[in-house]
Symmetry: C2
Subunit: 128 residues, 2 copies
DNA sequence: CCTATAGTTAGCGTCATGGCTAACAATGTA
DNA sequence: TACATTGTTAGCCATGACGCTAACTATAGG
C-alpha cells in the first residue's frame, strides 16, 4: 500500500528529469550499455550513473553487469503504475464532468484518439 | 518544443509528491477552497500553499480568489501531456516487442533448437 | 469599529538533487 | 605483464524542495 505510493513517488520523480526521460526513450529501442546510453549526453559518467540509479530505484530500469559492461533494459511494467494513476484520475474527472460540462471532451476530440493500449490491465477508457 | 519538455518536467515533478497527488484526487471531486483542501493535511498553511503553487505552475491546477477565499480547480488537460508521454513510450516498447517476437520466431525457424528467452532483449544492438 | 477568518509574505533549517573531479577497481586485449 | 576500457566510489559544491514559525493583509460579520 504505502509501498505502492512510494513507488509512484519514485516513478514520477524519475520521469520529471529530461535526461532520464531521454534514457527511457532510448531504452524503448532496446537494451544498451551504460556507455552507449551516456554517449549522447554531455555529462560526466558519475553524474550520468546517478540518473541510471534513480531509474533503477524507481523500477523503470533494470541492469546487470557482465564482464566490465553493465547492460540496462526497460521494465515497462513499472510505467503502468503511473499510467494507471493518471487514467484513473481522468476517468473520475470525466465522470464528474459529464454532469455539466463538455469542453474537455472537445479537447479530447482534438487529440483524436491516441492509440488504444493493448495492455491487459488498461481500462481502455471507452470514451463514455 | 523545449517549452513542452519543461511542462512535462513540471507535471511529473508535481505528481511525484503524495500530498500533491492527494490534492489532485480531491479536486477530481470538484473545486475547493485552499482551506478545504488543506484541512485533511497535518501541515502548516504556508507549506501547503507551496504545494498549491507547484500544482499551478505545472498547469494541473488553476485558482482564483474571490473575496478572501481562493478557489482551486483541476485543469485535466495538463494531465493529458503526461499520460500521452507514457502511452507513447509504451506503444514504442510494444511495437519493438512485436518486432522482437517476430525476430525470435525467425530465429526459431532457422535454428529450431534455439530456445526463446522469456524476457525481451535487444535483437541486435546497432553500433555493432 | 472590532474581531475572527482566510490567505500571504518573509525568513529560516534541513535534506535531496544534479552536476563536477579525482582516484580506484575490474576486466579485456596486445 | 602492461595497457586501455568501463564502470564505480568518494567527496565537493550549488541549488531547489519541503517543512516550520512569526508577522502581515484583506475581507466578512457582528
Amino acid at each position: 500500500m504505502a509501498n505502492n505510493v512510494i513507488q509512484l513517488d519514485r516513478i514520477f520523480a524519475a520521469l520529471a528529469d529530461p535526461t532520464r526521460r531521454a534514457i527511457v526513450m532510448r531504452l524503448c529501442d532496446g537494451e544498451a550499455s551504460v556507455g552507449e546510453l551516456a554517449d549522447p549526453f554531455d555529462m560526466a559518467l558519475p553524474s550520468f550513473m546517478k540518473h541510471i540509479h534513480v531509474l533503477e530505484m524507481s523500477g523503470l530500469v533494470q541492469s546487470e553487469k557482465a564482464g566490465r559492461v553493465r547492460t540496462c533494459r526497460l521494465r515497462p511494467e513499472a510505467m503502468v503504475g503511473a499510467e494507471d494513476w493518471l487514467q484513473h484520475q481522468r476517468a473520475i474527472w470525466e465522470a464528474r464532468l459529464d454532469r455539466f460540462e463538455a469542453y474537455v471532451m472537445k479537447l479530447k476530440k482534438e487529440k483524436t484518439e491516441r492509440p488504444a493500449p493493448k495492455r491487459p490491465s488498461a481500462p481502455k477508457k471507452g470514451k463514455a
